[in-house]
Subunit: 315 residues, 2 copies
């Protein structure tokens, strides 16, 4: 497929859904830069929740309804891990486990290559046309400060079910991280950039916090690339996850407008849901165009339709 190339920035399930919609139009012309701040080690294996959610969605094997994990997966290994006394609150399915096993084996192999190279190999094995690119090859674990102190992200997100109030965020080691050559090349070729409807603070935030990432965006914009962002907040609420409470707790407005303010320096077109149409003038006052449409992606068709509208608005 010839034609303009697109970079999408994505985190969790909402981002994976739009990435899937974009892939339907773009195929190999799409590169998805994923947050790796959620990555963690479980049972000695590297688990990459955001990469893997995008992978499973692009491969069309994600759990229906949930959007993460693999549809119809079983938990025989997990139950047996629990029998050996392993922590079992982060439940990995058997087919999902295979990804973490294969990836960890390749990363440990002498000739295994960088994280990005290993991930690309796994993606090719599943026949993916787009590329999913970790934001960095170096670990940048997101940590969340609650009344208990600093927690690893998955301890807060999965084990404590996002219940505690978030007082502060940090991206450990981010100062030493850098965008990979593959990420730099993708931005270098992109004529459009899409910030997917992912948590702006802990999905898109870590990507933009990697030193050099904003410069890559700025260079792309200077070259004429256009940038769209799709609000993950609809009617003041996140469809999934803690973005709404986290925004409010950290001094932002839990609204599409609040998200627009975070992205105002980067974005040409801000995409709001129909229920937030009233906010369009205020978003436009920040210097962005707006696209008001149905942003709830309930099936493959609505993913592709939203992607198509976003791409059209960027032309």
């Amino acid at each position: 497929m010839g034609g303009p190339k697109v970079v999408a920035l994505a985190g969790g399930v909402g981002g994976a859904k739009l990435a899937h919609g974009l892939a339907a139009h773009l195929g190999e012309r799409l590169s998805v830069v994923v947050n790796t701040g959620d990555d963690c080690e479980r049972h000695g294996l590297l688990v990459m929740p955001d990469h893997d959610t995008v992978l499973y969605n692009l491969a069309g094997i994600e759990q229906a309804g949930l959007g993460w994990g693999i549809e119809g997966d079983t938990y025989a290994a997990m139950d047996q891990l629990a029998a050996y006394g392993e922590e079992a609150w982060f439940r990995l399915g058997d087919r999902d486990l295979a990804l973490h096993v294969a990836r960890s084996a390749r990363l440990r192999a002498d000739d295994g290559g960088r994280l990005t190279e290993v991930c690309l190999g796994l993606q090719r094995a599943l026949g993916l046309a787009p590329r999913i690119l970790p934001m960095s090859d170096a670990p940048v674990p997101t940590q969340v400060r609650t009344a208990e102190g600093w927690l690893d992200f998955q301890e807060y997100f999965v084990h404590q079910r996002q219940t505690p109030d978030v007082l502060e965020l940090r991206f450990a080691g981010v100062a030493d991280a850098s965008p990979t050559p593959e990420v730099a090349a993708a931005f270098g070729e992109a004529s459009a950039i899409v910030l997917c409807p992912s948590n702006p603070l802990v999905s898109i935030g870590p990507i933009l916090a990697v030193p050099g990432m904003r410069s890559l965006l700025a260079a792309a914009i200077a070259r004429g690339a256009r940038v769209a962002a799709v609000s993950p907040i609809i009617g003041g609420r996140a469809l999934k996850g803690p973005a709404d409470r986290m925004l409010a707790a950290l001094g932002h407005e839990s609204s599409a407008l609040g998200v627009a303010r975070l992205y105002a320096d980067l974005v040409d077109v801000f995409v709001l849901d129909n229920v937030d149409a009233d906010a369009a003038p205020a978003v436009e006052a920040l210097g962005m165009r707006t696209l008001v449409t149905d942003t709830v992606m309930t099936d493959d068709a609505s993913r592709a339709r939203l992607a198509s509208e976003v791409l059209a608005a960027l032309r």
Copy 2:
């Protein structure tokens, strides 16, 4: 349970069956020293076929009929590993995989301890009373020379289904290995030692080849410990595995008598199957007593019965 302590030396399925029979009588008074020459890395994980076969038999969860693996196990992770292009000829079940994942994680952990300590922790988690002790904490991989050259043991045993003629065996790194403190302590307390019906060349052989192991046996014998061996060859054939062909190929006799000759310097009581009763005088001429009985273990009762007869013969 008070009373005399017993050390069993075991390799594959036959050894695991007799170990299970012995455990029925001895409980925590039994230590099973297992061959680690078959151990291998699969998908970056340490797999210990002999340890694990004994573990699953002692836990009563082994695959009926086969004797290795876990009864009712599924292969979802393995199929997915194959989808990522991982070698799939060594098929690990989902519940079985959990053991390799948990063990490898603990071995890699900074505070994980030695191989023996990690294995004992996993055994305790399954509620085992006997202890299964790796012959050594250091790797001693068995290698098999065929017309193709030197092969890793599992390449010969599983991938090539024991088809090639075996020209030579070696236990790589054995010169640098030593019995663990746990193995030394078990021999130090044993009043009886049982060489289980395992392949004398690639199951019992590697254990006895660890420098210091024969001295531990000799010291136990000098203290009054008695030693029995159960022939893995019945009517000239191995019930399972390549022991018969391997014995013949390497210049030994593929018979109970041929096995007895290999063990003559160690053993007080040699146990032959009823079908080999004719060989008893020749075995006795080597300086051993004989026990002639039914050595085919088809169920838990026959395992316990054979174990009971062996223990009685050693009293």
